[in-house]
């Protein structure tokens, strides 16, 4: 891996340091920005899935009850756990990566 290029400290701080920041370290404002943007994406996905179920129901395809059933299906449990673990590993890789 190449080492990061040399920047004078002000340049390295980036635009967030020039604009408003509420936390002492402007990086924290940026991180919060990422979290809020992710929240927006998650909300959009949740809403769209809900709308999809409603749209299917209107077409006479009732999936909601089946979804509830599958969620508690013991036969699916191991595969879902494996999926979840893989998701968490991907999601949290940055925490332990050196």
């Amino acid at each position: 891996m190449s080492s990061p290029p040399d920047h004078p400290p002000e340049a390295a701080a980036g635009p967030a340091a020039r604009g408003y920041h509420a936390f002492e370290d402007p990086v924290h404002d940026r991180l919060l920005g990422v979290i809020l943007a992710l929240g927006a994406e998650v909300w959009n996905l949740r809403e769209r899935l809900g709308l999809l179920e409603s749209a299917l129901a209107r077409q006479g395809v009732e999936v909601s009850a089946l979804i509830e059933e599958l969620a508690l299906d013991p036969e699916r449990a191991p595969a879902m756990a494996a999926d979840r673990d893989a998701f968490l590993a991907r999601f949290l890789r940055a925490v332990s990566a050196d």
């Binding site: 408003y20 809020l36 959009n44 809403e47 769209r48």
Partner: protein
Amino acid sequence: MPELPAPTQEQAAHFDYLEGLRGYNYTVHVKGILDAYERATTADRAAPDTMDEAGVIIAPSPLYRFAAATQHLAQKMGWAAARRSLEGHTNQLADVLNRMPAEPRGRLVLDPALELPEYYTERDSEGRDDIHLVPGGYWGDPLVGPVYERGGALYRMAWRTGYTGSPPGALVAFAKGAPSDDYRRILDLGCSFGGLTMALRQAYPDAEEVVGIDISSAALRWAHLTAEERGLAIAFEQRDATATGYPDSSFDLISGFLLLHELSAEILDAVMAEAYRLLRPGGHIRFLDMPPYAALPPERAFLQSFDCEGNGEAFWDEFLSRDFKAVLRACGFVHVADGPLDYEEPNYWGTAALLRTGEFRLENRWVNQADKPAG
């Protein structure tokens, strides 16, 4: 106002999210800050007398930092979302913006030669955020009218329903509250999209002329289209409020909404001197803006001061710390008075970016009023 293109599901979900995020920030975080402040000042020390002292208690708290950062970020996300929802429709919007009414009741007079003042155009190059954090401020984007319409409704937490009352009831109440009910010529300074100008037109249907001036041609165009659609006869003219070019004594009521805090002390002095010149003897001025810090409890004044740095309001602090009544007296105005606007509005969240708990009215609407001596 001309109809805006409908947002997609994804854009609508994004607007809903931002309204929800801000609502939560106000009702849980900001309210939490005020509750914690009250506990701190009643428990272990005497309540501070000044907003700076209140800030020493409030500013370091994680909750304040979190609320301030969230407000700032959500504001930026809101304007970006509003603009993005219109970007796919620029041709359609250009048609709307260019389709001037065939038989207008009022008029639109633009001045392409008008030089925009430096304080207005140079903020970003100073490393400051644009006004209200809108990219391009009021002037740099031809879509500013539609963007404000949509983003403004989002700011008022009412993007799905639109802002109730059109023009908003508070502006009509303010317009009607002027000392006389018999004005011939009325001028609205810094009229933007014509919110107050339309309220003045409705409040004084018999006035000979109602004129709104602003330096942003894009804003005036939108104001004109909106007023014509509502059948209101208003003249919108592109002029600088510091040097309008109208003859002395041309108006008998001069008004403005949220203009004062947008101007530096120097420019504001020039605007007030110009207003004095334009007013006929015995005429009235009446402005609606934010209350001075001195009128608020210290902790609220501190939260109100967030807008300066946190919401791109470069002259907010300067104006709200100033004795504006003294400025008016120095210009020669008499019967100088100020106070909160007497108007109750259910579901009104408030204007100052971090004081929107929806529970305290005074902080949002403040009237300054004075007369030119009858001579």
